[in-house]
Every structure is written in structure tokens, then in C-alpha cells.
Amino acid sequence: MSSETGDAAPSGPKFSFLILQTSVGRKYLVAITGLLSCGFLLGHLAGNLLLLMGPDSFNSYAHKLTSTSLIYVAEAILGVIFLVHLGLALKLNWENKMARPQKYVKKKTFGPGENIFSSTMPYTGIAILVFLVLHLTQFKFGSVYMTQVEGVEMRDVYRTVIEFFKNIWSLVWYCVAMSLLAMHLAHGVQSSFQSLGIRSKQIGQWLKCGSRIFAFGVPAGFIFLSIWCHLQ
């Protein structure tokens, strides 16, 4: 060994953007885009709660939201977030399949993080993608009615929403999709904190508890609103 200190120092990748070429770096991106999507969900739920205030409040909110050109920027950013999350998750999943070409004849699972939520992540993720596409066609690109609120002509999204949820099968489909979303979030949210290195012995249980409350609370909020709409 050389007498000069540090001669044998390992040389890692030197540029910070190379982080995305590593498995750990890609997991960061999946976690960050997942958490950002959760932020969107929270905002979406807050907006939807205006349904309870009646058609004028909800329609005015929807009109304000869509009449600014910033909505296109926001939609583009959201699109990129979803695509990065989906694309990287699929890539990681494919790499995971490749990492064990020969399967076990007998394999049992008993990890504390192993449950129906964690083992179905790819499937619930794909289901959410299908839901997202249908959701956009059913509401954003769904039937258009017009109304006037305080003399301003605007889309009557309230009517579109109520009409949709009046159909029992639409309601059932929506509740199933929200349950799948809850399953995805039940593992995804707390897993994000682990991937980003935020989890530690001190706050681990708090993070898990908070993540579960969010994971079940937000979809429950959406389900509550859909049932409320059905009963109108």
C-alpha cells in the first residue's frame, strides 16, 4: 500500500446527474414523482369538496382553474410527473424480473413490509393508469353542459359530475378504482420515505402511521364525495 493517504480511495461517478443512472437514483425519482402526485391528489380532493357547496361554487372554481393559461403548464408538469413515475417504475420492475431468471420451486414470504399492498404495486399502478385515462374522458373530455353564474357563461361541470355518479355502475367502478388507489398509496407513500432516506429509527413509526392515514384518508374522501353525488 502506498504511503500517501488516499491513494487507494475508491473513485465513484463524479457528476451529480449520473445519480439517475443508478438504481438508487431512479428510486429517488419514482419516490419524488409519487409524492408530487400525492400533492396533486390532495389539491384535487380539496377542489372537489366544493361540490358540497353547490353547483355555483364548484362551477366557478372549475371555470377559474381552466380559464388561466397556467393550467396548460400545470397539466404538462403533471403529465411529465405521471410519465416519469410510470416509466421508471416499469423499468425497475423489468430489471427486478431479470435479476432472478431461475425462479424458486418453493418460496415463502414473511418480510414485515410484505403484504397485499406491496405485492400488488405494479397491478394497482396499471389499474390507476387505466382509471386516469377513463377519468379524463368521463369528466374533462366528458359531456359538456353550459350554465351561467353571476352573468358569466361557463361549463356546468357540476351537472356532468352528478350525472355520472347517478349511474350505479359508474359509482361502483369509481369506488373500486379509489380502493385500488388506496392500496397503491398504502405501500407507495411510506416506501417513498424509505427510498429518499428520510426514514429513521426515531420517526419511522410516525412516518408509517401518517402515510397510512393519507393512503386511506384521501381515497376515502373521493369515495365519500362520489356517494354524496349519487344521492343528490
Binding site: 500500500m1 504511503s3 493517504t5 488516499g6 491513494d7 487507494a8 480511495a9 475508491p10 473513485s11 465513484g12 461517478p13 451529480s16 449520473l18 445519480i19 443508478t22 438504481s23 438508487v24 437514483g25 431512479r26 428510486k27 429517488y28 425497475l92 430489471e95 427486478n96 431479470m98 435479476a99 432472478r100 431468471p101 431461475q102 425462479k103 424458486y104 420451486v105 418453493k106 418460496k107 415463502k108 414470504t109 414473511f110 418480510g111 414485515p112 413490509g113 410484505e114 406491496s118 405485492s119 404495486m121 405501500h187 411510506q190 416506501s191 420515505f193 424509505q194 427510498s195 429518499l196 432516506g197 428520510i198 426514514r199 429513521s200 429509527k201 419511522g204
Partner: protein
């Protein structure tokens, strides 16, 4: 080995047989009688091999060394559990008293693209050595030994580093992980050094180099199911994975 008594059992084994990495393998069934409950699992395999040799059948190859649970050489996926059903136990410390007369035991090698089968139940775990060579060390000048208490280290930090340092590199984490990920192994090796002052000078380059080598070796990605922690015979916590993720982010963004 003539220790026949009324407690001895008959065990039905299904063992993975593969002549070499180039050839295809398959499960073979063997029935072994007169298995003492006091035998270790590896002694049971020794008895199987004696029987096979008497029958002019090639004995089953399996890895073992210290047989004291500290060297990390033994492996084996036993009835779907890495190192068998007993928690915090290596295969060599598993005893046949865990089983009862007439039980069927399925024995397979670790399955991972990064751990190719050498023969039967023996796999090549040198991918771990390559990860260690990429950064799992501290560079120190040779010379006289420093004073033992010259560098003060808090007890909690020393304990945490010791927890990580318990890793014997057996590969159960990879074998148990549904993705064949080596994150727990690498995280333990990174943590044991990064927690201590001696590991600080190379902390940033170490974590980057070891993660890069881990990826290169073809291990899968962590999906936070904690199968590795449950299978680890030393009970190493996935909190070390969170620490490595933190260290990797810090080193990649700041240095």
C-alpha cells in the same frame, strides 16, 4: 455414525441437482432414514452424502465452513426460507429437531442472476467481493497501532455501526428478496464505515462506488418489502438501507 434411536426420523428431501453452470438442473428426490433430531441441518446433508456415495451416486455439493454461524459460507433455500424457518439462524445452526418424522424438505440454491450456480447448491457469491473491492474499506497508512481510545465515538453510534458490521455476507438478503436486490448487504457495509470517524474521508466516494458496482453486478432493485431483514441471520435492519439512500443522495448532490 450409528446413533439410531426411537426418536430418529425419516425425511423426504427434494434437492436441486445441477452438474455445472453450463448444464440444466432439476429437483431430485431422496429419502433419508435414521435422521437424529440432534443433528444440524448440514450434518443431515453429510449423512445424505454418505448414503449417496455408498450407492455410487455423486454427493450433493453445498457450501459450508465454520458451522458456527459466523463465517457466512452456508446458504440454502430451505422450504422457501433462506437459511431455513428459524429466525436469526444460519443454515449450519438449524437443527433437525425443527422437523418431524415424514416431513418433506425442499432444498434449493440462492437464486439470483448475480449468484450463478457453480454446482448443485453451491453458488458463486464473488459479486459481493467485487462490491467490497469497489469501496468497502478504509484507506489507512500502515504504522504503529493508534491508541485504542484516541478517537472518541458515542456509544449509540458505535452500537449502530456494530449492528451493521454483523453482516457475514452470506447473501440471504439477495436470496430472500423477491427482486434479488443486494441493498441490505451494501447498506450494511456502507453503514458500518460511514457511521464511524475512520470511514468519513471516503464516505462520499464509497457509497457511490459500491452502489455503481452493485448495479453492474445485475442485482435487482429494492421495493421495500423488508424480506431481506426477515431473512438476515444477523437481523440487520432496513434502516441501514434508508441511511445508505440518504448518504448516496448527499454525496451525489453535494460532492
Amino acid at each position: 455414525m450409528n446413533n439410531s434411536n426411537k426418536n430418529n426420523m425419516t425425511i423426504h428431501l427434494k434437492v436441486w441437482r445441477q452438474a455445472s453452470n453450463k448444464e440444466k438442473g432439476k429437483m431430485e428426490s431422496y429419502t433419508l432414514s435414521d435422521v437424529s433430531p440432534d443433528m444440524s441441518f448440514l450434518e443431515m446433508l453429510d449423512q445424505l452424502n454418505l448414503k449417496l456415495m455408498k450407492e455410487k451416486i455423486e454427493p450433493v455439493s453445498f457450501d459450508h465452513d465454520c458451522r458456527e454461524g459466523i463465517c457466512g459460507m452456508c446458504s440454502l433455500m430451505i422450504n422457501g426460507h433462506a437459511h431455513g424457518p428459524q429466525l436469526l439462524t444460519t443454515t449450519c445452526q438449524l437443527h433437525m429437531r425443527e422437523y418431524k418424522d415424514g416431513d418433506e424438505i425442499v432444498i434449493e440454491p440462492w437464486r439470483s442472476r448475480a449468484f450463478p450456480v457453480v454446482k448443485d447448491l453451491v453458488v458463486d457469491r464473488s459479486a459481493f467481493d467485487k462490491i467490497m473491492a469497489a469501496g468497502g474499506f478504509v484507506s489507512v497508512n500502515t504504522g504503529s497501532a493508534p491508541d485504542a481510545n484516541g478517537t472518541a465515538i458515542a456509544k449509540v453510534v458505535a452500537d449502530e455501526a456494530m449492528d451493521a458490521a454483523q453482516c457475514i455476507g452470506c447473501g440471504a438478503c439477495v436470496a430472500a428478496c423477491e427482486n434479488g436486490s443486494a441493498m441490505l448487504f451494501v447498506a450494511a457495509k456502507v453503514s458500518q464505515l460511514s457511521l464511524l470517524p475512520q470511514g468519513q474521508p471516503e464516505a462520499a466516494s464509497r457509497v457511490k462506488s459500491m452502489v455503481a458496482k452493485m448495479d453492474e453486478m445485475g442485482f435487482g432493485n429494492c421495493t421495500n418489502h423488508s424480506e431481506c431483514m426477515a431473512a438476515c441471520p444477523k437481523g440487520i435492519s432496513v434502516e441501514h438501507i434508508a441511511r445508505m439512500n440518504r448518504d448516496f443522495l448527499k454525496s451525489s448532490l453535494l460532492q
